[in-house]
């Protein structure tokens, strides 16, 4: 500071001083600015690939946008209104949630089961763990193509077996429920192994002494699973649930390749939100509407994320910091402490009285 003001006061100061003051200044800038510079790559990247597309989508969603000419006319909330009044949109919403539930719930149950089996002392551990992850390596579109052969209506593998044992064939591409089952199966095929590995990692972090103690106490493997493993997995389970929620609500590849047209079926049996978004955007070249739909999807996921967060908070105390207490417990602890303190004080007073 002083150097700078001194130089300002004497503009014709000797050169060396100037150089020193400049390097001083540099080093001060270094001190103040460098930290920001060091962390800036993340923020710059985030601004480019995170903030900008979101804001730009919002801008487009209020316009009647012409992709080729890169221009649009402002139409206010018209695009949002159009989407919310489309019966297709509500069908798509129903399908998305239906497929999400049909995939996530069995997926987690299977993943838990497989992980607990792999957590046991078995031969060729690494082989089994790798084998579980194998379907995840297959590209979703490839999975779709394979399962199309399995779930074809007339000459499919499953229907072939069903008719062989005298059962009626299932109309995979006609009945909404069964189409959701078929799509959920593709999702489960791919993601069960991935979730298994995450849950397995969490299971291995559980202190083995608990199990030893439980065994000594006479608890069987099933009791041990429900009383030790499952409660210890809560934070991991919540992570897995949140990621599969986001993935489930954005489901696209599997319904896209479920039939030859990729537009969700003639009666929109398996049209999902992102599939509808894609069709409006890249099928009809209506980017205003597609952008509006992207924002609606964003808000839906945000809403469900918030619900997840609330559920998380009540289930797990402050995400993994298990020593920290919840508000109610804090209050109770404080009350207890006060009570014991009061009791001690009373006892001390009594003791005093007694000694007197």
């Amino acid at each position: 500071m002083t150097a700078a003001t001194a130089r300002d006061a004497q503009p014709d100061a000797p050169k060396p001083v100037r150089v020193i003051s400049f390097s001083h200044r540099l080093s001060r800038w270094d001190l103040k600015l460098s930290p920001y510079l060091y962390i800036s790559p993340f923020f710059i990247m985030f601004a480019i690939v995170g903030i900008f597309p979101i804001v730009y989508t919002a801008v487009i969603s209020f316009q009647d946008w012409d992709l080729v000419r890169n221009s649009g006319t402002f139409v206010g909330f018209d695009q949002y209104i159009w989407i919310l009044t489309q019966p297709h949109f509500w069908t798509a919403l129903r399908n998305t949630f239906s497929i999400f539930l049909l995939s996530s719930v069995p997926q987690l149950i299977f993943a838990l089961f497989i992980a607990s089996v792999l957590d046991r002392n078995i031969r060729a551990k690494t082989f089994w763990r790798m084998a579980v992850l194998l379907p995840f390596v297959v590209a979703p579109v490839a999975v779709g193509l394979i399962f199309n052969v399995v779930f074809a209506d007339n000459f499919g593998l499953v229907n072939g077996m069903l008719t062989d044992i005298g059962l009626p064939a299932i109309q995979w591409h006609k009945d909404p429920f069964w189409s959701h089952v078929a799509i959920a199966t593709m999702v489960n095929y791919r993601w069960t192994g991935y979730n298994t590995l995450i849950l397995l990692a969490a299971m291995q972090a559980v202190n083995r002494e608990y199990y030893e103690a439980a065994t000594v106490d006479g608890a069987g493997p099933i009791r041990q699973f429900f009383s030790i493993t499952l409660p210890s997995l809560k934070p991991t389970l919540i992570f897995v649930i949140i990621t599969s929620t986001i993935g489930g609500l954005q489901i696209f590849d599997e319904p896209r390749v479920f039939d030859q047209f990729g537009r969700g079926g003639a009666g929109q049996q398996w049209l999902t939100i992102s599939l509808y978004l894609y069709d409006v955007g890249w099928g009809q070249w209506n980017f205003g509407r597609a952008a509006a739909m992207a924002w609606i999807l964003f808000i839906i996921i945000l809403g469900i994320g918030l619900i997840n967060l609330i559920v998380t908070r009540s289930l797990v105390r402050d995400e993994g910091l298990r020593t920290e207490l919840s508000k109610r417990e804090k209050r109770r602890a404080v009350a207890e402490a006060k009570a014991t303190a009061a009791a001690k004080a009373a006892a001390a007073a009594k003791a005093k009285e007694v000694t007197r």
Binding site: L67, V68, R69, D153, G267, Q284, W285
Partner: protein, 419 residues
């Protein structure tokens, strides 16, 4: 010192990679120096246009211009790429456009370089009419067309007591009503579906109408147009009972194609390759020189030259050369793309072409006659695809038993009113 050296080298690396990117950008976009005469042109097509490397080498030998050929896998990929880059940068000097989304491209006719006037008259009238913009400019070079005949299984026809000779079969189908009557007879006799797909029939009927969903001035007539409702009713009442599937190209459809589940298909020239390619073991396919209700065209493509390209003049030369009758005949020999050029239709190579798989049928002659029978050029507005897709869905819903005829129609009306 070390860090400074590292920084310097990092900057150098960055500079080199940036200039490398710039260079890469140049080569893919074509050299910008118009005056020196361009060295390389880019050509983007999809599926198989029959433009082999040898064919393009002939152009290079004639003009000294190198051609880089990029092929997209499907027409849909090409469509996405085309509209994302049109009016900006990154399109090839010559781009292929399919008839299905040509109307969308026609909206941006000002961004495409028009075809020189002296080339007008090279193509069939209706092929040219469909590529002319509001100002009367021809904006695209026609490549191939899809005149339709009727493909049939002579062995299955014989089993059902129908004639099997090509000429006799052709005499069976002068009108759609006759077609449905024969179909009903076949289905009654064999208990099997007659035709592959109900929606193929729908497009066959609607492609014979000049105005279906939209009028050239942009008026939407889809829901009031009696032609559309009539076609829908006909297809639902008469085509669905004799169809194996609602739509084409499904797993089941391909399986049936090979197993002989159905006896006929509406057959544009390019369908011949689809049939022989997917049912190589099947015998008995033949093609009749007939189409119910006159002629019908299904598919076909154009080449366009983006107006903001770096080498518009040379690109026009290439598009001109590729769509010249002689080149188109060579492309036909390579890939079976049936020419849309008037002169090519009288070419001996085309007329003498036969197809061994289809019982040695004179396919060139048959398809040439089918092309001559096409009289109507259906007007397809920018939303044609949406309307037609939704109507096909309506037919599919009835076919699948999801909705009855009236409900499905009403749902279609509601759906398209929101477009």
């Amino acid at each position: 010192m070390k860090t400074r050296a590292f920084r310097k080298s990092a900057i150098a690396v960055a500079a080199v990679s940036v200039s490398a990117l710039a260079l890469a950008g140049c080569t893919s976009g074509g050299t910008p120096s118009e005056s020196d005469g361009p060295v390389t042109l880019t050509l983007a097509t999809f599926n198989d246009f029959g433009y082999t490397d040898e064919l393009l080498a002939e152009f290079t030998a004639e003009t000294g211009i190198e051609v880089v050929h990029n092929k997209a896998a499907t027409s849909n990929d090409a469509r996405a790429n085309f509209f994302q880059k049109l009016g900006k940068t990154g399109l090839a000097d010559v781009e292929a456009v399919e008839i299905d989304w040509f109307a969308e491209a026609l909206q941006y006719a000002d961004l495409l370089a028009p075809v020189p006037d002296d080339l007008k008259g090279r193509w069939l009238d209706w092929k040219e009419a469909a590529a002319t913009d509001g100002a009367g400019n021809l904006i695209a070079y026609g490549t191939d067309i899809g005149p339709q005949g009727i493909c049939y299984r002579s062995d299955l026809f014989a089993a059902a007591g129908l004639p099997t000779d090509r000429a006799d079969v052709a005499a069976l189908f002068p009108t759609w009503d006759d077609f449905f009557t024969v179909g009903a007879q076949y289905t009654a006799a064999t208990g099997k579906p007659f035709i592959d797909s109900a929606n193929a029939v729908l497009q066959g009927i609607l492609n014979q109408e000049e105005f279906t969903y939209e009028e050239p001035d942009g008026t939407i007539i889809a829901t009031e147009n009696p032609v559309v409702e009539e076609a829908y009713n006909t297809v639902v009442d008469k085509a669905i009972p004799i169809s194996a599937y609602a739509g084409q190209w499904s797993e089941d459809w391909f399986a049936s194609l090979a197993s002989g589940e159905f006896a006929t298909m509406l057959c544009p020239g390019w369908m011949l390759g689809v049939i022989s390619g997917n049912a190589p073991e099947t015998t008995g396919w033949d093609i009749a020189n007939a189409f119910p209700g006159g002629g019908g065209n299904w598919g076909g493509s154009y080449l366009v030259v983006p107006a903001n390209g770096a080498n518009v003049e040379a690109a026009q030369k290439l598009a001109d050369w590729l769509t010249s009758p002689d080149t188109q005949i060579k492309a036909f020999e390579n890939a079976g793309t049936f020419p849309s050029q008037v002169d090519a239709l009288s070419n001996d190579v085309l007329l003498s072409a036969t197809n061994e798989y289809f019982n040695n049928a004179p396919t060139g002659e048959i398809l040439t006659e089918r092309a001559a029978a096409v009289t109507v050029s259906p007007f397809k507005g920018p939303k044609y695809f949406q309307f037609h897709d939704a109507l096909q869905n309506a037919v599919t819903r009835v076919f699948d038993g999801l909705e009855d005829k009236t409900t499905s129609w009403n749902n279609w009306v509601t759906e398209v009113s929101a477009f």
